[in-house]
């Protein structure tokens, strides 16, 4: 149904951001692992295509680890904000539907 289409899309965005957080948390966990390259998750075609890719690695330490702490924390924070925004949008969509389904009070 069309009215729930938006909520479904927002829901898949929430799933994506949750998964992306796990991937980014893995980068933080591997902050000191020799040879580790940071990973990231991206979303294309309106959220249809989700792919994991290796991100960064330009600045590589002597142990081959390419994680930049600030970069990863910034990504984590931006991702969290997007998640919060999406869940807020779901709340408002549901509120609108509730209003429409009610008797207008």
């Amino acid at each position: 149904m069309a009215d729930f289409g938006t909520i479904d899309q927002l829901g898949s965005a929430l799933t994506f951001h949750r998964e992306r957080h796990a991937v980014l948390a893995g980068n933080i966990a591997n902050l000191d692992t020799p040879g580790y390259k940071p990973m990231d998750l991206e979303r294309k075609d309106g959220g249809e295509l989700v792919t994991t890719f290796q991100d960064g690695g330009a600045q590589q330490g002597p142990d081959g680890n390419a994680v930049t702490l600030e970069r990863e924390l910034a990504k984590i924070d931006a991702n969290r904000t997007r998640y919060a925004a999406n869940s807020e949008l779901v709340t408002r969509q549901l509120a609108m539907l509730r209003y429409a389904a009610g008797d207008g009070t």
Binding site: L14, T15, F16, H17, R18, E19, H21, A22, V23, L24, A25, G26, I28, A29, N30, L31, D32, T33, P34, Y36, M39, L41, V50, T51, T52, L69, E72, L73, I76, D77, R80, Y83, A84, S87, E88, V90, T91, L94
Partner: protein
């Protein structure tokens, strides 16, 4: 995949950093230990980390596993001991030198600070997961 996967990943990182902290503390505590069970002075220990796919965590939508971290081994540093001239010491050799551990306290302090900062970063990542879960729980309120 659920939020617990992200938290498990962060937890593996925290455990690894805690191990690094323990090992640095052990190195500092034994900086002057000239006698060990295996003979000779204490040898500096270092933590070898390895990234792993955690069992029990779910995969991302494209089927990729998220990587946590584990302590692969705690390796002994086989660098030569520090020789100090102290002929009165019970462990002095024929030339009057005592073998002290190959521990450099400055290096250990740097290691401790690094581990502590990495731990903080892991805590931040974990509390972000909690924060996200809370905003999900707010849906429909």
């Amino acid at each position: 995949m659920d939020f617990f996967s992200a938290m498990e990943v962060s937890a593996s990182g925290l455990a690894a950093e805690r191990t690094r902290m323990n090992v640095a503390a052990s190195n500092l505590a034994n900086a002057q230990t000239t006698q060990t069970a295996e003979g000779g002075p204490y040898k500096r220990k270092s933590v070898v980390l390895q990234s792993v796919e955690l069992t029990g965590t779910e995969k991302t939508t494209d089927g990729q596993a998220v990587s946590g971290v584990k302590v692969q081994q705690i390796a002994a540093d086989n660098a030569a001991p520090r020789m100090e001239y102290d002929p009165g010491h019970p462990q002095a050799n024929a030339q009057g030198y005592v073998a002290y551990p190959n521990v450099n306290p400055v290096e250990e302090m740097v290691d401790m600070i690094t581990a502590s900062r990495a731990y903080e970063a892991g805590v931040t990542a974990m509390s972000t997961a909690v924060n996200m879960a809370q905003s999900a729980l707010g849906i429909g309120k």
